[in-house]
Protein backbone atom coordinates (compact mmCIF):
# COMPACT_ATOMS: atom_id res chain seq x y z
CA UNK A 1 0.00 0.00 0.00
CA UNK A 2 2.74 2.41 0.96
CA UNK A 3 4.91 1.29 -1.93
CA UNK A 4 2.19 2.20 -4.41
CA UNK A 5 2.08 5.73 -3.02
CA UNK A 6 5.81 6.38 -3.50
CA UNK A 7 5.67 7.31 -7.23
CA UNK A 8 2.65 9.54 -6.63
CA UNK A 9 4.38 11.34 -3.78
CA UNK A 10 7.56 11.67 -5.83
CA UNK A 11 5.64 13.05 -8.80
CA UNK A 12 3.79 15.55 -6.64
CA UNK A 13 7.08 16.60 -5.02
CA UNK A 14 8.73 17.19 -8.40
CA UNK A 15 5.69 19.11 -9.65
CA UNK A 16 5.69 21.21 -6.47
CA UNK A 17 9.40 21.96 -6.78
CA UNK A 18 9.06 22.97 -10.43
CA UNK A 19 6.04 25.21 -9.89
CA UNK A 20 7.61 26.61 -6.73
CA UNK A 21 10.79 27.58 -8.56
CA UNK A 22 8.73 29.11 -11.35
CA UNK A 23 6.64 31.07 -8.83
CA UNK A 24 9.78 32.29 -7.04
CA UNK A 25 11.25 33.44 -10.35
CA UNK A 26 8.01 35.15 -11.22
CA UNK A 27 7.51 36.96 -7.92
CA UNK A 28 10.96 37.67 -6.51
CA UNK A 29 13.27 37.79 -9.50
CA UNK A 30 10.93 39.99 -11.48
CA UNK A 31 10.75 37.86 -14.58
CA UNK A 32 7.67 37.71 -16.72
CA UNK A 33 5.22 34.93 -17.32
CA UNK A 34 6.86 33.70 -20.49
CA UNK A 35 10.19 33.16 -18.75
CA UNK A 36 8.66 31.33 -15.80
CA UNK A 37 6.59 29.13 -18.09
CA UNK A 38 9.61 28.50 -20.31
CA UNK A 39 11.67 27.27 -17.39
CA UNK A 40 8.82 25.16 -16.09
CA UNK A 41 8.17 23.48 -19.44
CA UNK A 42 11.89 23.04 -20.08
CA UNK A 43 12.45 21.37 -16.70
CA UNK A 44 9.47 19.05 -17.15
CA UNK A 45 10.55 18.21 -20.72
CA UNK A 46 14.17 17.39 -19.91
CA UNK A 47 13.23 15.51 -16.74
CA UNK A 48 10.65 13.35 -18.47
CA UNK A 49 13.00 12.75 -21.40
CA UNK A 50 15.60 11.47 -18.95
CA UNK A 51 12.94 9.25 -17.42
CA UNK A 52 12.09 7.90 -20.91
CA UNK A 53 15.63 6.68 -21.50
CA UNK A 54 16.41 5.46 -17.99
CA UNK A 55 13.30 3.87 -16.49
CA UNK A 56 13.03 0.12 -16.22
CA UNK A 57 9.33 -0.35 -16.89
CA UNK A 58 8.74 0.38 -20.56
CA UNK A 59 5.07 1.27 -20.12
CA UNK A 60 6.14 4.05 -17.75
CA UNK A 61 8.69 5.10 -20.36
CA UNK A 62 5.82 5.54 -22.81
CA UNK A 63 3.80 7.57 -20.32
CA UNK A 64 6.82 9.78 -19.57
CA UNK A 65 7.20 10.28 -23.32
CA UNK A 66 3.63 11.63 -23.43
CA UNK A 67 4.56 14.15 -20.70
CA UNK A 68 7.66 15.13 -22.68
CA UNK A 69 5.66 15.73 -25.86
CA UNK A 70 3.04 17.74 -23.96
CA UNK A 71 5.60 20.08 -22.43
CA UNK A 72 7.22 20.48 -25.85
CA UNK A 73 3.80 21.62 -27.13
CA UNK A 74 3.84 24.22 -24.35
CA UNK A 75 7.25 25.42 -25.52
CA UNK A 76 5.88 25.75 -29.06
CA UNK A 77 3.13 27.95 -27.61
CA UNK A 78 5.71 30.16 -25.89
CA UNK A 79 7.61 30.36 -29.18
CA UNK A 80 4.49 31.71 -30.84
CA UNK A 81 3.45 28.77 -33.02
CA UNK A 82 0.01 27.76 -31.74
CA UNK A 83 -0.97 25.66 -34.74
CA UNK A 84 2.20 23.63 -34.38
CA UNK A 85 1.46 23.10 -30.68
CA UNK A 86 -2.00 21.79 -31.56
CA UNK A 87 -0.49 19.51 -34.20
CA UNK A 88 2.05 18.26 -31.67
CA UNK A 89 -0.72 17.34 -29.24
CA UNK A 90 -2.89 15.71 -31.90
CA UNK A 91 -0.23 13.78 -33.80
CA UNK A 92 2.29 12.91 -31.10
CA UNK A 93 0.16 12.50 -27.99
CA UNK A 94 -2.95 11.31 -29.78
CA UNK A 95 -1.33 9.24 -32.50
CA UNK A 96 2.26 8.18 -32.12
CA UNK A 97 2.19 7.67 -28.34
CA UNK A 98 -0.92 5.52 -28.53
CA UNK A 99 0.68 3.53 -31.37
CA UNK A 100 3.82 2.99 -29.30
CA UNK A 101 1.80 1.99 -26.23
CA UNK A 102 -0.09 -0.56 -28.32
CA UNK A 103 3.18 -1.93 -29.71
CA UNK A 104 4.57 -2.18 -26.17
CA UNK A 105 1.57 -4.18 -25.04
CA UNK A 106 1.87 -6.46 -28.09
CA UNK A 107 5.58 -7.22 -27.77
CA UNK A 108 6.52 -7.39 -24.10
CA UNK A 109 6.50 -10.83 -22.53
CA UNK A 110 6.14 -11.51 -18.84
CA UNK A 111 8.24 -14.66 -18.83
CA UNK A 112 11.29 -12.95 -20.29
CA UNK A 113 11.57 -9.71 -18.36
CA UNK A 114 14.39 -7.49 -19.44
CA UNK A 115 16.58 -7.62 -16.38
CA UNK A 116 19.19 -5.53 -18.06
CA UNK A 117 17.70 -2.33 -19.41
CA UNK A 118 20.90 -1.12 -21.03
CA UNK A 119 23.34 -2.60 -23.49
CA UNK A 120 26.92 -3.15 -22.51
CA UNK A 121 27.95 0.01 -24.33
CA UNK A 122 25.79 2.21 -22.09
CA UNK A 123 28.70 4.06 -20.50
CA UNK A 124 30.39 4.97 -23.82
CA UNK A 125 26.95 5.97 -25.14
CA UNK A 126 26.46 8.29 -22.16
CA UNK A 127 29.89 9.82 -22.68
CA UNK A 128 29.20 10.31 -26.38
CA UNK A 129 25.84 11.96 -25.68
CA UNK A 130 27.35 14.31 -23.12
CA UNK A 131 30.12 15.21 -25.56
CA UNK A 132 27.52 15.92 -28.28
CA UNK A 133 25.50 18.12 -25.93
CA UNK A 134 28.53 20.07 -24.64
CA UNK A 135 30.10 20.62 -28.06
CA UNK A 136 26.89 21.73 -29.73
CA UNK A 137 26.00 23.97 -26.77
CA UNK A 138 29.45 25.60 -26.95
CA UNK A 139 29.01 26.11 -30.69
CA UNK A 140 25.60 27.67 -30.11
CA UNK A 141 27.03 30.01 -27.50
CA UNK A 142 29.95 31.01 -29.71
CA UNK A 143 27.84 31.79 -32.79
CA UNK A 144 26.30 35.15 -33.53
CA UNK A 145 23.05 34.22 -35.19
CA UNK A 146 22.28 37.74 -36.33
CA UNK A 147 18.53 37.24 -36.29
CA UNK A 148 15.86 39.27 -34.69
CA UNK A 149 15.96 39.86 -30.95
CA UNK A 150 12.27 39.18 -30.54
CA UNK A 151 10.36 36.16 -31.63
CA UNK A 152 7.51 36.48 -34.05
CA UNK A 153 4.05 35.44 -33.06
CA UNK A 154 2.85 33.53 -36.07
CA UNK A 155 -0.81 33.97 -36.92
CA UNK A 156 -2.46 30.80 -38.14
CA UNK A 157 -3.83 32.64 -41.19
CA UNK A 158 -0.31 33.56 -42.37
CA UNK A 159 0.88 30.03 -41.96
CA UNK A 160 -2.17 28.64 -43.74
CA UNK A 161 -1.73 30.94 -46.73
CA UNK A 162 1.94 29.98 -47.01
CA UNK A 163 1.14 26.28 -46.62
CA UNK A 164 -1.63 26.17 -49.19
CA UNK A 165 -0.11 28.58 -51.73
CA UNK A 166 3.66 28.13 -51.79
CA UNK A 167 3.98 24.71 -50.19
CA UNK A 168 0.94 22.90 -51.50
CA UNK A 169 3.02 20.37 -53.49
CA UNK A 170 5.06 19.11 -50.47
CA UNK A 171 1.80 19.01 -48.52
CA UNK A 172 0.21 16.70 -51.08
CA UNK A 173 3.36 14.58 -51.34
CA UNK A 174 3.33 14.11 -47.56
CA UNK A 175 -0.22 12.80 -47.79
CA UNK A 176 0.92 10.21 -50.35
CA UNK A 177 3.85 9.32 -48.07
CA UNK A 178 1.48 8.76 -45.15
CA UNK A 179 -0.76 6.55 -47.29
CA UNK A 180 2.25 4.49 -48.38
CA UNK A 181 3.44 4.20 -44.77
CA UNK A 182 0.03 3.00 -43.60
CA UNK A 183 -0.20 0.39 -46.36
CA UNK A 184 3.37 -0.74 -45.66
CA UNK A 185 2.71 -0.97 -41.93
CA UNK A 186 -0.39 -3.09 -42.46
CA UNK A 187 1.49 -5.35 -44.86
CA UNK A 188 4.48 -5.77 -42.54
CA UNK A 189 2.48 -6.44 -39.40
CA UNK A 190 -0.02 -8.73 -41.11
CA UNK A 191 -0.08 -12.31 -39.98
CA UNK A 192 0.81 -14.55 -42.85
CA UNK A 193 -1.57 -17.33 -43.78
CA UNK A 194 -0.06 -20.74 -43.07
CA UNK A 195 3.02 -19.16 -41.57
CA UNK A 196 4.34 -19.77 -38.09
CA UNK A 197 1.45 -18.92 -35.73
Amino acid sequence: MVRHLIPIVLGLAVLGIVTGVAAIMLIFLGQDWADALFWMFAAVMIGSALLVVTMRDIIRCGLAMIVCFGSLAGIYLILGAPLLAATQVIVYIGGISVLILFAIMLTQTKDAPSRLVFQTQAVPAAIASIVIAVVVALAIGATDWGGAANRIRLATADMASALFKDYVLPFEIVSVLLLAAVIGGVYLAKREKGGPS
Binding site: D35, M45, V53, I75, A81, G147, I152, A189, P196
Partner: protein, 105 residues
Amino acid sequence: MSDSLDAYLVLATLLFAIGSFGFLARRNAISMLMSIELMLNGVNLAIVAFGAFGATKEIAAQGSIVALMVIAVAAAEATVGLAIVIAIYRNKKTPLVDEYDAMRQ
Protein backbone atom coordinates in the same frame (compact mmCIF):
# COMPACT_ATOMS: atom_id res chain seq x y z
CA MET B 1 15.44 34.02 -21.21
CA SER B 2 12.54 32.96 -23.34
CA ASP B 3 13.42 35.83 -25.68
CA SER B 4 16.80 34.45 -26.72
CA LEU B 5 17.38 31.96 -29.51
CA ASP B 6 20.24 30.33 -27.61
CA ALA B 7 17.98 29.03 -24.84
CA TYR B 8 15.75 27.17 -27.30
CA LEU B 9 18.71 25.80 -29.21
CA VAL B 10 20.38 24.52 -26.05
CA LEU B 11 17.10 22.92 -25.02
CA ALA B 12 16.82 21.23 -28.41
CA THR B 13 20.43 20.04 -28.10
CA LEU B 14 19.73 18.52 -24.70
CA LEU B 15 16.69 16.70 -26.03
CA PHE B 16 18.67 15.40 -29.00
CA ALA B 17 21.54 14.22 -26.76
CA ILE B 18 19.15 12.42 -24.41
CA GLY B 19 17.52 10.73 -27.38
CA SER B 20 20.85 9.66 -28.84
CA PHE B 21 21.87 8.19 -25.50
CA GLY B 22 18.65 6.22 -25.36
CA PHE B 23 19.07 5.00 -28.91
CA LEU B 24 22.61 3.80 -28.26
CA ALA B 25 22.10 2.35 -24.81
CA ARG B 26 18.67 0.74 -24.58
CA ARG B 27 18.18 -2.93 -25.32
CA ASN B 28 14.51 -2.84 -26.14
CA ALA B 29 13.60 -2.13 -29.77
CA ILE B 30 10.59 -0.02 -28.84
CA SER B 31 12.70 2.02 -26.42
CA MET B 32 15.02 2.74 -29.32
CA LEU B 33 12.08 3.92 -31.43
CA MET B 34 10.95 6.16 -28.56
CA SER B 35 14.46 7.63 -28.40
CA ILE B 36 14.29 8.34 -32.13
CA GLU B 37 11.07 10.24 -31.53
CA LEU B 38 12.83 12.29 -28.84
CA MET B 39 15.64 13.16 -31.26
CA LEU B 40 13.14 14.18 -33.96
CA ASN B 41 11.37 16.41 -31.45
CA GLY B 42 14.64 18.09 -30.53
CA VAL B 43 15.40 18.84 -34.18
CA ASN B 44 11.86 20.10 -34.66
CA LEU B 45 12.23 22.50 -31.74
CA ALA B 46 15.43 23.87 -33.30
CA ILE B 47 13.70 24.36 -36.67
CA VAL B 48 10.75 26.19 -35.12
CA ALA B 49 13.06 28.35 -33.01
CA PHE B 50 15.12 29.35 -36.05
CA GLY B 51 11.94 30.26 -37.88
CA ALA B 52 10.44 32.21 -34.99
CA PHE B 53 13.59 34.31 -34.56
CA GLY B 54 14.00 34.85 -38.30
CA ALA B 55 12.78 38.47 -38.32
CA THR B 56 9.97 38.13 -40.85
CA LYS B 57 6.60 36.49 -40.88
CA GLU B 58 7.45 34.51 -44.00
CA ILE B 59 10.43 32.85 -42.33
CA ALA B 60 8.37 32.00 -39.27
CA ALA B 61 5.72 30.42 -41.48
CA GLN B 62 8.37 28.45 -43.35
CA GLY B 63 9.85 27.15 -40.11
CA SER B 64 6.47 25.97 -38.91
CA ILE B 65 5.73 24.32 -42.25
CA VAL B 66 9.02 22.44 -42.28
CA ALA B 67 8.29 21.30 -38.72
CA LEU B 68 4.86 20.08 -39.83
CA MET B 69 6.50 18.05 -42.60
CA VAL B 70 8.93 16.58 -40.08
CA ILE B 71 6.03 15.60 -37.81
CA ALA B 72 4.30 13.85 -40.73
CA VAL B 73 7.47 11.99 -41.68
CA ALA B 74 7.95 11.00 -38.03
CA ALA B 75 4.44 9.56 -38.00
CA ALA B 76 5.21 7.51 -41.12
CA GLU B 77 8.50 6.36 -39.58
CA ALA B 78 6.79 5.30 -36.36
CA THR B 79 4.17 3.34 -38.29
CA VAL B 80 6.66 1.38 -40.39
CA GLY B 81 9.17 0.96 -37.54
CA LEU B 82 6.62 -0.43 -35.11
CA ALA B 83 5.26 -2.75 -37.80
CA ILE B 84 8.78 -4.06 -38.39
CA VAL B 85 9.29 -4.57 -34.64
CA ILE B 86 6.02 -6.48 -34.38
CA ALA B 87 6.93 -8.63 -37.40
CA ILE B 88 10.34 -9.46 -35.92
CA TYR B 89 8.77 -10.17 -32.54
CA ARG B 90 6.44 -12.67 -34.17
CA ASN B 91 9.44 -14.62 -35.43
CA LYS B 92 11.99 -14.19 -32.63
CA LYS B 93 9.66 -13.92 -29.59
CA THR B 94 11.78 -11.21 -27.99
CA PRO B 95 11.86 -7.42 -28.17
CA LEU B 96 15.53 -7.18 -27.23
CA VAL B 97 17.71 -6.04 -30.10
CA ASP B 98 20.87 -7.84 -29.00
CA GLU B 99 19.13 -11.16 -29.61
CA TYR B 100 18.41 -10.29 -33.25
CA ASP B 101 21.50 -12.00 -34.64
CA ALA B 102 20.17 -13.89 -37.66
CA MET B 103 22.32 -11.93 -40.11
CA ARG B 104 25.49 -12.31 -38.03
CA GLN B 105 25.72 -16.08 -37.98
